[in-house]
Symmetry: C2
């Protein structure tokens, strides 16, 4: 006899595996092959894009579409573009002039394999190709053009100065400074939160959700984004390097501002759970089709990788 | 008594000054102010964007719109986005891991003022904000959504793996290798040519030009792009450092593959003139409204800065 908990866990596991496989097949299709000239940049881009990872952002995009009655497959170009933007940010964050990381997703970081110059350009290329995919004929054939423009607007805003880039700058600037909750919240909301939120928003928007549902899902995304980043900070202290596929203890080494450094592990866990509760509340008016979003929220806080 | 040549020169001078002023006023409006948090990234972005420069790409975009009977002012968000993409590419090209340049447009390069980490992120931000501007409400209120999506598609393609990024990679890879014309043409067509071409194409497309006119202008753009880059390479040997606002002799120092290194200065000048002739021929079926495009083509080959 399996408990409902185990059932949920098995269901989520197979849901994530199924969606991950969909995303990775689509990425394989959308990413140009290594035979193009100059080969090294195509190799570099594929190296980082096809290195595995949880594919959380694209899966959230597909799950949000399904939660409002949309078709997940239709969202694949958008989901892949979100993963390309996420991967560009990882490649640039790992550079020696940024966090100087040697491992990512269990493999050497992009610049350690291809050199720093190519790694900068691979990030630039992925960010650019993400918009090429979003405005591409494939996506344009699936959605009303006004909606697609709105999604591009939301995604670029979440990735730019008032989103991820702003958060990354605040994160760098906070190194070595004593933590304060206001700055910490700014960093979490922007560095990680905005791209997680917009993944959900883009999925719902393009699946034809009404404004009220899009707003509720945006709030859900904001809350799981915060829960995700706090859990990430906890795992950087408590997590297993091999399971995570990257070095741990990096935040302490770089004197980063994190929740655990500000208020300790126990209270950080408590706050992550509060954000989880708030995220679930945002889904109160959604039916069973939002069940994957509920389970993903719980997974984000309980995960060990 | 002034010769027609002088008249043309004066006309072009005032045309370029007027359009440059339009573009710079619009940039000032579209770029967020330095009061936003975290201030350093807004300062860094504005430092490089408002450092002057010829504003060739945005001016070409406006001139192409006018050549097909469109309104230049309507194209300003698109023109500014093109200049943002160009500026991002300069910031990243100047990085120590790339060309390692200390001066650009007569001022210290971005990373020399703000540090390499912020310079990488300023480039990332400008590339992202360019798409935010292209898909933004301002642009969306001016053009049919399908046309705007087509422009975003063309611009991102020209900036990405099959355009500018590919060209930059080929350029880096060519350093120290003996020059061959095929690689050299690939570099010029992609590193500089694609963004110049798409500036013209986007202007014409969004001004409502028919396919035949867009194609003719694309060919014009391709030819002036090649002429521009050959002239750039010649100026890197013969130009005046102070007038150019950047160091000369950099190509030789980095053992870059250039036309002068392949076939000498005289033949390079000859080839630039051939591309100029080809560019002018593309405008044969255009009327007097394409006169600025004709004069800009000549200016590109004859310029000293």
């Amino acid at each position: 006899m399996t408990s409902p908990m185990t059932d949920n866990f098995d269901y989520l596991k197979s849901y994530l595996a199924e969606k991950k496989s969909l995303v990775e097949k689509a990425l394989e299709e959308y990413l140009p092959g290594e035979e193009h000239f100059p080969e090294i940049i195509f190799q570099s881009v594929r190296y980082s894009m096809l290195a595995g990872g949880k594919r959380l952002r694209p899966i959230l995009c597909l799950a949000a579409a399904e939660a409002v009655g949309g078709n997940a497959s239709a969202l694949l170009p958008v989901a892949c573009a979100l993963e390309m933007i996420h991967t560009y940010s990882l490649i640039h964050d790992d550079l020696p002039v940024m966090d100087d990381d040697d491992y990512r997703r269990g493999r050497l970081t992009n610049h350690r394999v291809f050199g720093e110059d190519i790694a900068v350009l691979a990030g630039d290329a992925l960010l650019t190709e993400a918009f090429c995919l979003l405005a591409g004929k494939d996506a344009a054939g699936r959605f009303p053009p006004e909606k697609l423009l709105e999604a591009i607007r939301e995604i670029s805003r979440s990735a730019g100065l008032f989103g991820m880039v702003g958060g990354q700058v605040a994160d760098i600037q906070s190194e070595g400074k004593s933590a304060d909750q206001q700055t910490l919240e700014y960093i979490h909301l922007h560095k990680t939160g905005e791209m997680i939120k917009v993944s959900v928003v883009a999925g719902a928007l393009l699946a034809g959700a009404d404004e009220k549902s899009v707003n509720a899902l945006a709030d859900y995304g904001k809350n799981i984004g915060l829960a995700f980043q706090i859990t990430d900070d906890i795992l950087d202290i408590e997590g297993d390097k091999d399971a995570l596929g990257k070095a741990t203890g990096q935040d302490a080494a770089l004197k980063k501002m994190t929740y655990p450094s500000l208020m300790g592990l126990d209270q950080s866990r408590e706050i992550a759970k509060q954000y989880l509760g708030a995220a679930l509340k945002c889904l109160d008016n959604f039916d069973g089709r939002a069940e994957p979003l509920r389970l993903i929220a719980k997974y984000i806080v309980e995960r060990t990788v």
